[in-house]
Symmetry: C2
Subunit: 186 residues, 2 copies
């Protein structure tokens, strides 16, 4: 696996992102990626082993887009900030992730890569946030942060893909106050 | 709006269901429904005003498919039974609902019909289940059943559409014990 010059690599990853959004993973071809990025297939294969590896690189880059969560001084403030950030990222990237949904379920490599690059860092962030609250002396039970993160992710995607209800401040506040905090504090 | 003989009506609704599953709401045409059901378009338009009305009739029929939830004698038992039933229905019908997702978000009539036929009866059932627990003297707080139902639905769809994790007994038990019961009892 060789490196490419950064502008060249970015052009290829941009083409991958556009194609995932437009046609989805299954119908994305390396030929079309090459055409759009004005790169040769040989160049692409020198850098990546195939579609899954290219998507993994893109996901890694998107994961770096998450701004680090602020320490607001209260658990509620941290949760509101975290969920607001997550809603923003999902809103901007949901066409991309929607294009990956079938592939996530059918391609074990891609599912594992998504877990490593996106899901696990999210768990780590959730755990940090809970530890910070404990260190401040806020009452926190021994709930699994992974469970809370699954609930939040599920609620966000449910709105975005199924009900179309807005991912606004009211949604964030209700989710934090009626679901996440009660589960954290029990 | 006239009635049709039941077999004829069923053949048309079956064609609607198949087409929704295969091509989705946006690409489903009345012409193709008519062809598959061996009915004339005139027959269809005598019975329904258009695509949204046909889908509403189908959804109404699917809602009647839900078996009534048993009274198991405990809140936990009722919740496990309810969530197990819901997982089963969603697993069987998810290709159909996936075919409706874009339309649900873009066609306000369809969204409203789905609410009336599927979502509202679900809320009513959830409220009954909670009232039964209260009447038995089980400790139940004043949480909104709609919130709990949204959490359960979101978790189920998240697994089905995004993560591909199984909707099995373990999922039902964990969801009931770690999320729904703690929220109900706070």
């Amino acid at each position: 696996m060789r490196t490419l010059n950064p502008a060249r690599e970015q052009a290829i990853l941009d083409a991958v992102q556009d194609l995932l959004t437009e046609v989805g993973y299954d119908r994305m071809s390396i030929d079309e990626v090459a055409r759009r990025a004005r790169a040769s297939k040989a160049t692409i294969y020198r850098r990546w082993t195939g579609k899954a590896a290219m998507v993994a690189a893109l996901l890694h880059q998107l994961a770096l887009d998450y701004p680090p969560l602020p320490d607001t001084g209260t658990l509620r403030g941290d949760l509101v900030a975290g969920l607001t950030t997550f809603c923003g990222v999902v809103r901007r990237k949901h066409a991309l992730v929607a294009g990956l949904t079938t592939a996530i379920r059918t391609d074990p490599d891609l599912g594992r890569l998504l877990g490593d690059r996106i899901v696990d860092p999210g768990f780590a962030e959730a755990r940090r946030l809970v530890e910070r609250a404990r260190a401040r002396g806020e009452p926190v039970g021994d709930v699994d942060p992974a469970t809370l993160l699954e609930v939040c992710e599920a609620l966000v995607w449910h709105r975005l893909l199924l009900t179309g209800e807005p991912l606004d401040e009211d949604f964030v506040a209700r989710t934090v106050d009626h679901i996440v905090l009660p589960l954290l504090r029990r």
